[in-house]
Symmetry: none
């Protein structure tokens, strides 16, 4: 049946994309050989080129497929709530640790964006628009609301709300660079992060809960 064939094809394409992601993440764009991608995907050497016009096209397809947050859900969750701002902030940071800091694929994505950004500027732009800009906007709305309510200390934080997430970014990089010889206790790092930024932005002190 034709649809069976098509499904097979789609499955193989997925397997190639997955294998390509792993190879690109491990070696970078230039050092990755299509033959290795094929071998890892368990297909013949020529198949990646058969499915994707070029190595560059494969790379872009790999990165474009990485799932982004569902902003509708996130925005609704955080914009629509009545909880204290600090509690919302904790929730948002928690989401970031669950989805990004604790997720090796996210680390590799960051590696690829940093390493290959100059060669694929449109990818950097895409991630800025779809991830960074929207995250910053959500944080800013949260903080603005907190200032109105008197939860959050007014200040420059409204200009650069992303600084609140900076320790999480640091954790991601730490895992990329040093995890092997200097592992990170992510749970404790998370608490340290929370403690720092919650007290950094609040109107009143917030002793650590743990």
């Amino acid at each position: 049946m034709a649809s069976r064939r098509r499904r097979d094809r789609e499955i193989r394409e997925s397997e190639i994309l997955e294998a390509a992601f792993e190879e690109f993440a491990a070696r970078g764009f230039a050092a990755t050989r299509l033959e290795d991608v094929a071998r890892r995907a368990g297909v013949a050497k020529g198949l990646p080129s058969f499915y994707f016009e070029s190595k560059e096209a494969l790379f872009k397809a790999v990165l474009r497929r990485l799932v982004l947050p569902d902003w509708d859900v996130l925005d609704a969750q955080f914009d629509g709530s009545d909880r204290p701002t600090v509690s919302l902030l904790r929730g948002l940071i928690t989401v970031v640790y669950e989805r990004l800091v604790g997720n090796p694929r996210a680390h590799q994505l960051l590696r690829l964006l940093i390493a290959e950004g100059p060669r694929f500027p449109e990818l950097t732009e895409f991630y800025h628009a779809e991830l960074i800009a929207r995250a910053i906007a959500l944080l800013r709305r949260l903080l603005a609301r907190g200032m109105e309510r008197g939860d959050i200390r007014p200040g420059l934080i409204l200009d650069y709300p992303q600084t609140i997430m900076a320790p999480a970014l640091m954790a991601v990089l730490w895992q990329l660079l040093f995890a092997e010889h200097h592992p990170l206790d992510l749970a404790r790092f998370f608490e340290a992060h929370l403690d720092l930024v919650v007290n950094g932005v609040s109107e009143r002190p917030h002793p650590a809960e743990v």
Copy 2:
């Protein structure tokens, strides 16, 4: 005279290392061609291979040459001072912005470490030992002294003092990835950083100075 010759050689070697740094930073290890390094250094195509055993050896030499902070001076400056802890913290963050966040070469070094880390683990280890571990240690001594004095709120920060520098790291990555289309006002970002972490770690509020 022999020493004249040696000086010539050293100059040429330096020029090759400098050119190699720029090419590696722009294109990554695998995509950089020794011929381009030679051209940029103004020497013959074969000279990089003549001076360095291999492309890998050249890469390592490039990264090992990048100057590290003079820890003796820094340690003395910050450990030996009597100023209030928050003031010292401000001073240290300022140094980081001057030397790293505002220094494109430092950005490129970070890019190379992230991109080529898996291929050159000893380099990552080197930078951890010579830069990261020592910076963390200095920060930790500073905070510990602050807690003793009652300047700094006791807490998890002593476990992960590097979080204090996280926004600076974020600024570096921002410049690497987004500077072209979304430039960063570094002075304001610096203030936001200070405001966040100074309040985040202090026993008492520290209204922004600017």
Copy 3:
């Protein structure tokens, strides 16, 4: 019904051969892709390989299918006539212009024979035996009869009667090579050809008729 199926197959095979001829003529043997042949024939990619053992076999089948003159008819027409030799010669040259010089498929056949001759010597041999040798023989009989009758000037022409057709060959090549930028007025060229060779072989002058 079995014969219906057979007819289907024959039709498809014909369409593949026709498509293959066009592709081979346009691009040559090596640069022609079976997939393009299939697409042009409106069949699936694998069908040419399914019908023909190999690309080479397809090429040979293509060239062997090109129709040859019906020598029985031609021989009867020219050998059996009582008309003056020069008139018969005119008739024969006219046939050549109608069937070959004015027929783009014949041009392409010549291109393929010249281009791929070294790779398919049996094809060249086939065309020599079935076309060239027989044409030469017919011409030779015509001229010999003309000499007997006193129409044709005795001479070397009997050794190389094909020279009489040489301008037609030149016209074919001209169309292959230069037609696009330097079109040929075939009617006038035909008259020039006739004028040259008729006077070249005749015992008496033959002023141009046009």
Copy 4:
């Protein structure tokens, strides 16, 4: 010495061009492998690509290098003479047989132009301009002068003087296609050619001289 190096390089380039000509002529553009060119030239596999930007560029360089007649000399020789037109015609045809019909490289050139013309139209145009058009012009001047003098029968030959050379073209093609199994006695063919066209264009009969 630098000039020694340069001379070496030029010699090697020549050897590659010569080897490439032979391979291209034997197999055609698409079926020729650069590695075979290299092997025939006695150099390493990569050298042809090192000297020429691409296979196409190599092909063009090969064809452009094939020497053309020195038209200044030829024009002077045939335009400036007082000999009878028929004698000049004989001389010109003789030149064509010496230089082209008897020259296997010319045969191969013709094969390449016919086979690869569609892929390299600028080459066809080049040969039309530099060879064909000038040959036609010279022939036309010769015949026009002959008509003025009363040597040459007026007629359509002035429109298509190239027909005079058509048997030579036929001989070239014969050698390309049939020489192996049906060799041509070039000397006799030449006489037959002369006999045909001299009588074909002359005002008075010209019995064969041989």
